[in-house]
């Protein structure tokens, strides 16, 4: 007993600073956040304690989920996530496939495809705000003007200003920014497959397409799952891009992360905390099974 404690004692002591920090700032604060979300702290006066506040349990959640505005945010989040995931996975995969067998200039293509990842969403938001400008015909700038110049006038549209599908316009810069990351993941996947496998398939008389279809693609499914989880959880948390392209006040493009900011700005702490908790639950549903699975497989 004491021996076991002694064995675990020194490692735990070294881990202690991090464990305490993560314990307080992640798990402790999540618990407190759930607590706040169950109160009726909706005004500045209550926030600063000048007015009493009470516990309302799940009322905030029920109100939020029942409100048309928040449903709109959730619908936006779903649309955005689907497009963002489909776009990055498809483009990233195609890029990796094109670069997979050695080609001159691979380094340049790789570097250019990947560089947007090094830029902040706020900085890329500045240029995409211009590119996705809703002005058309005479006043067209950005992509609408580009469409005119190449004779694709019919493709002009008002981008993120569409109430129903505007959010999908914001997915375009997100795809621009992260397709290169997915490419890097898939490319590493391709390169991780032992080369003998291809040669064996060749010897067996497989065509190039058969080689990909039956030998190489199946090996990439773990990578696809990783990419799905990483891009998916980033998408659920999206905030910077929307803030810098369409500003938070716009109903068209709001998502829960933006709602949380607006509630917090108006000192509605209870609803802000409730939105945060809803986001946490959504992300956890995606990530926790994945973490458990990764952890198991390692043994």
């Amino acid at each position: 007993m004491t021996k076991a404690l002694k064995r675990a004692g020194a490692p735990l002591l070294l881990l202690a600073p991090s464990l305490i920090l993560v314990g307080i700032f992640v798990y402790g604060l999540i618990a407190v956040n759930f607590g706040t979300s169950a109160t009726d702290i909706h005004t500045a006066a209550q926030t600063t304690g000048r007015e009493p506040s009470g516990t309302v349990w799940f009322d905030n959640y029920l109100d939020l989920l029942g409100s048309e505005a928040f449903q709109h945010s959730l619908k936006n989040l779903l649309l955005y996530t689907v497009l963002f995931l489909a776009g990055t996975l498809l483009i990233g995969f195609v890029w990796a496939w094109l670069l997979e067998s050695p080609i001159k200039g691979e380094g340049i293509f790789r570097a250019v495809y990947l560089f947007p990842m090094a830029v902040s969403f706020v900085a890329s938001g500045v240029v995409w705000r211009w590119l996705l400008n809703s002005g058309q015909d005479e006043s067209a700038t950005g992509l609408n003007r580009l469409f005119q110049m190449v004779g694709l006038d019919f493709m002009q549209n008002n981008w993120w200003n569409n109430v129903d599908y505007g959010i999908t316009a914001i997915a375009i810069p997100a795809i621009w920014q992260l397709s290169g990351y997915v490419m890097a993941l898939f490319l590493a996947g391709f390169r991780g497959i032992p080369y003998e496998l291809r040669e064996a398939a060749r010897v067996d008389g497989a065509t190039t397409w058969q080689l990909y279809r039956h030998v190489l693609f199946p090996q990439l499914s773990p990578i696809a799952l990783s990419a799905l989880i990483i891009i998916g959880h980033m998408s659920l948390k999206s905030f910077d891009l929307i803030m810098s392209i369409s500003k938070p006040a716009n109903y068209q493009t709001k998502v829960p992360a933006v709602d949380m900011y607006i509630f917090k700005s108006s000192f509605d702490y209870a609803n802000a905390a409730a939105v945060g908790s809803i986001l946490l639950v959504i992300v956890a549903l995606v990530v926790v099974p994945y973490l458990i699975r990764t952890n198991r497989k390692e043994k």
């Binding site: 881990l15 992640v26 090094a118 706020v122 938001g125 500045v126 991780g192 803030m243 973490l291």
Partner: protein
């Protein structure tokens, strides 16, 4: 008598995993397939670079050049005015960001290194559970902690702005730095640790004289990763600092979305300033940058 440093065994260098395999040969000559492949790759290249063209061109345009019909044209009169205005507006925030990014990256890297060592090489019962619990901190939406975090920052009387942001980037950097170091230390040969143990070195001694000296490649990856993510952070910046004491992302956002009349030229010059440090890191230390990206995918 064996000493701690007799074996110059080093673990696998941190690879980006993208270099082509040894057996692969580049085919010679032009075929239809290869020409098509190049055409598609170059087309994508141009599409990806469109925003860069817009940024550069617009940043050199004077207000007179702003007519929508000429939006894609080169400037009629090249001017550096936008760059000067943007620099004046952003320089203080850029300096604050440096003061925020350097200490937070160093501290998070050091903590991650210790954690990674313990979790990879000095295992105890429940080590995997502890690791997974730490890792979860990487995935949580920070929105789920911001309200109580705000209270905590007020209660602790932390100075708003950079000091608070340093703390947050350290705390929320721990999961990824721990992950990267743990994955790296798992490739350290067992014999190296065993030799140290036989020589009677304790855990701390082993860490300091065996592990730390071979950790340089991993430190580079982690520092780049932390530098980039803290530099590019906007969420914490917007909640825990103001335009007077915040980092460059917040200053840029205020510059670009300010209430004053929209001047795209200034915004775009500002966006370039704000991106320059991370872009330089990406260009100069690309391999390590990608190494960090790969570690973020939780595969080991």
């Amino acid at each position: 008598m064996a000493t701690l440093s007799t074996q110059p065994v080093s673990p696998q260098p941190v690879a980006d995993g993208l270099t082509p395999p040894k057996g692969a040969k580049r085919p010679k000559g032009f075929t239809l397939g290869r020409t098509l492949r190049y055409a598609v790759l170059i087309l994508f290249l141009l599409i990806v670079l469109i925003p860069v063209y817009v940024l550069l061109v617009t940043s050199f345009k004077g207000p007179g050049d702003a007519a929508p019909a000429r939006a894609w044209d080169l400037p009629q009169n090249w001017t550096f005015d936008n760059w000067e205005t943007a620099w004046d507006a952003l320089a203080p925030a850029i300096w604050r960001t440096v003061q925020m990014v350097v200490p937070s990256a160093l501290i998070a890297a050091l903590l991650g290194s210790v954690n990674g060592f313990v979790l990879a090489r000095w295992r105890f019962r429940g080590a995997n559970l502890v690791f997974t619990l730490i890792l979860f901190g990487m995935f949580i939406p920070y929105q789920a902690v911001i309200i109580p975090l705000n209270e905590l920052v007020l209660d602790l009387d932390l100075p708003s702005g950079i000091p608070t942001l340093i703390l947050l980037h350290v705390v929320f950097g721990i999961p990824i730095t721990t992950l990267i170091f743990r994955n790296y230390y798992q490739t350290v040969p067992h014999e190296l640790i065993e030799a140290a143990r036989i020589d009677g070195a304790g855990m701390l001694r082993t860490y300091a004289s065996v592990i730390l000296p071979i950790s340089v490649p991993s430190f580079v990856v982690v520092l780049i990763w932390q530098f980039t993510s803290a530099w590019n952070d906007f969420l914490f910046a917007v909640f825990f600092s103001s335009s007077q004491n915040g980092p460059v992302t917040l200053a840029l956002n205020n510059l670009a979305n300010g209430a004053l009349l929209q001047n795209y030229g200034v915004s775009m010059a500002g966006a370039l300033f704000a991106s320059l440090p991370t872009l330089v890191v990406y260009i100069v230390l690309g391999k390590y940058f990608i190494g960090g990206l790969m570690s973020g995918s939780v595969k080991s």
